[in-house]
């Protein structure tokens, strides 16, 4: 995964770049850096390199064949499409929730705050089974929706609903600390200068939160695209319709087609990587334009 720029509070002064050395009162830079590189290499780069090396036994043609099958393409479209849509919704809802939790005091606030983390803590399969039960044709929500002619479980909509639950904490937890640190005097100043609430939100608060929102969006999107456990029970898994990309990988492994599985995995990795690079580029562009 590409390193995401840490959300920086508006007004922070970027330290002057100096290659190799950051001033710190603590010694041990060389050892710490060495260990960091080793660890990142071992935990992240090595498995990814193994994945990248795996699918080539039938050459480039074999890899392309595996990826360009209509069924694989449909699955990739579903996984990334649903993740994208869910990430957009989560940005809006996550901002709202972070705002309510950060700006208001009400009984039960701490409980709501803790609940937001639950999708992190819950085994994904448990979340998936709960969702499928709830939204199934005989579940509490599913039965009510079915009377209105809406089907959620076992359709692509089900995938989207599951990803809403999975992605929400990423946005809330990315935005919350930045919002807490946001100086209320900025808003007050905006108001004194005659800005109405909408202007204050759009011109003062939102730009300060944007990097954090984008980080939350990217995390929710990346996680959602590769999500298996919480989606698999509610998706329906019909080839070409509600089959997610990770299931295509599992299916290929089930046929002992390691190369094919790695090909699809590589495609997912490439798309995720591109998405994260794009997000990073947007962040960089925004911080330049901000020019504070």
């Amino acid at each position: 995964m590409v390193a995401l720029a840490t959300p920086r509070v508006a007004g922070g002064v970027a330290p002057r770049r100096r290659p190799w050395r950051e001033p710190s009162v603590l010694p041990g830079f060389a050892g710490a850096l060495g260990f960091t590189l080793l660890y990142v290499g071992l935990i992240i780069l090595l498995p990814l390199a193994a994945l990248a090396a795996r699918p080539w036994e039938h050459g480039l043609q074999g890899v392309l064949d595996a990826i360009l099958k209509p069924r694989t393409l449909a699955a990739l479209r579903l996984s990334f499409g649903a993740a994208l849509l869910a990430a957009f919704v989560n940005v809006a809802m996550g901002l709202l929730i972070a705002w309510v939790l950060g700006r208001y005091r009400f009984p039960g606030r701490r409980i709501v705050d803790a609940l937001v983390d639950l999708p992190f803590a819950l085994p994904t399969a448990v979340a998936g089974i709960a969702l499928a039960t709830l939204y199934g044709p005989n579940g509490w929500i599913g039965a009510a929706l079915a009377r209105g002619g809406v089907k959620v479980a076992f359709t692509p909509t089900g995938v989207f609903v599951a990803l809403l639950a999975v992605g929400l904490p990423f946005v809330v937890r990315a935005v919350q600390p930045v919002l807490d640190d946001l100086d209320a005097s900025l808003e007050e100043a905006a108001q004194t200068l005659g800005a109405n609430p909408v202007q204050t939100f759009a011109r003062v608060i939102l730009p300060a939160l944007a990097p954090a929102l984008i980080t939350g969006f990217a995390l929710a999107f990346a996680r959602g695209a590769g999500e298996y456990g919480s989606v698999i029970f509610i998706a329906g898994n019909m080839p070409g319709v509600s089959e997610i990309a990770p299931l295509v990988i599992v299916t290929r492994l089930e046929q002992y087609d390691y190369a094919g599985a790695a090909s699809v995995g590589l495609a997912m990795l490439a798309i995720s990587l591109l998405a994260l690079v794009a997000v990073n580029a947007v962040q960089v562009a925004m911080s330049r334009r901000g020019g504070r």
Partner: protein, 334 residues
């Protein structure tokens, strides 16, 4: 088929030799199995430990690992140190053998194609059978929802698919295209393709989705056991398939561990009278005639084809479940 299943005959042959050598040191075996055998092997391991102590004076403990059949085969290929594998279909053990961990011809080493117990594919319907499902042709009727897992990811579902195909081939006088048309119609009545047998059972039993669950007889019997009688009924179609979940010693592993003797005794004991009885109680069909007779009511005789009808697993896999083969074509726009 006749085979001496008497306890003395099999056990004697299997266990007499080590007795003479020495009281064996404590042995640990790992049995990599598939999901629905959990309860059976838990009881069987106790039985085996007692037999091993009685005949060799030694200690043996068997650890269990359960997951989807194909997943277990891959785990063994990737280095899971299982002394024995007891999987859902021969195709998965073949895959281990192809990578040199099990000697070729493994399936002839034990009686009955190395499948000490069998099962078949049946229908589980809701109480009173409201959709009047009696046989295969009822599964393609409009408005009937069939629950069955994806044969690409579930070993059990491959048996179900082949049972349907076998019926349709016979029903259409061998006309392959029409047989596949029937199978296509059947899967078009499937609203959700779970990845494994247990998942499909949960969808049908716990979530109340679908009119008929197509799958393992042992799972159907277990579902009735678990939920309590009176909510579901088993419908046995006019013909089905003899599902043979095979067992094998993983040669490379037992030779490295020095556990071959215990591992072979373990598998041979599966054919003994008490083990066969245990299998029948745990909803598998026994091979032993005596046990079959004892459980005749639980397991009525059925007209069963075998995997040989499809030319063996390698061929069945290639024509039906491989990439772009018959099953994939069901989901391609016509």
């Amino acid at each position: 088929m006749t085979f001496d299943l008497s306890r003395r005959g099999v056990l004697g042959a299997a266990l007499a030799a080590p007795t003479l050598v020495r009281a064996a040191a404590p042995v640990t075996l790992l049995n990599a199995s598939y999901d629905p055998t959990r309860e059976f092997y838990k009881n069987f391991n106790t039985l085996f430990a007692a037999e091993w102590r009685r005949t060799t004076g030694g200690q043996v403990s068997v650890r269990q690992s359960h997951d989807g059949s194909g997943k277990q085969a891959r785990a063994v290929v990737d280095g899971l140190e299982a002394d024995v594998v007891t999987l859902a279909l021969a195709y998965d053990i073949d895959a281990i053998a192809q990578r040199g961990l099990i000697a070729p011809g493994w399936q002839a080493r034990l009686p009955f194609n190395s499948a000490p117990y069998t099962s078949t594919v049946v229908f589980l319907v809701r109480k009173g059978n409201p959709k009047h499902i009696r046989d295969w042709l009822d599964l393609v009727k409009p408005g009937v929802q069939v629950i069955t897992p994806n044969p690409k990811t579930s070993g059990g579902a491959r048996w179900s698919y082949l049972a349907a195909l076998g019926f349709a081939t016979r029903h259409n006088g061998g006309d392959e295209a029409r047989a596949l048309g029937f199978v296509r119609g059947l899967y078009h009545n499937v609203p959700v393709l779970d990845t494994g047998s247990r998942g499909a059972t949960t969808t049908f039993v716990q979530r109340g989705i679908g009119d008929v669950l197509l799958g393992w007889e042992n799972e159907a019997l277990l579902a009735i056991d678990e939920v309590g009688p009176g909510q579901f009924e088993i419908v046995r179609p006019s013909m089905s398939i003899l599902a043979e979940p095979p067992v094998a010693v993983v040669d490379k592993v037992v030779d490295r561990h020095g556990t071959r003797r215990a591992a072979e005794a373990y598998l041979k004991l599966l054919y003994s009278e008490p083990a066969q009885d245990l299998a029948a109680r745990r909803h598998y069909r026994a091979r032993s005639r005596a046990v079959q007779a004892r459980y005749a009511q639980k397991f009525p005789a059925m007209d069963l084809i075998t995997i040989a009808t499809f030319g063996g697993w390698a061929k069945a896999q290639a024509t039906n479940f491989a990439d772009g083969a018959a099953f994939d074509r069901i989901y391609q726009p016509a």
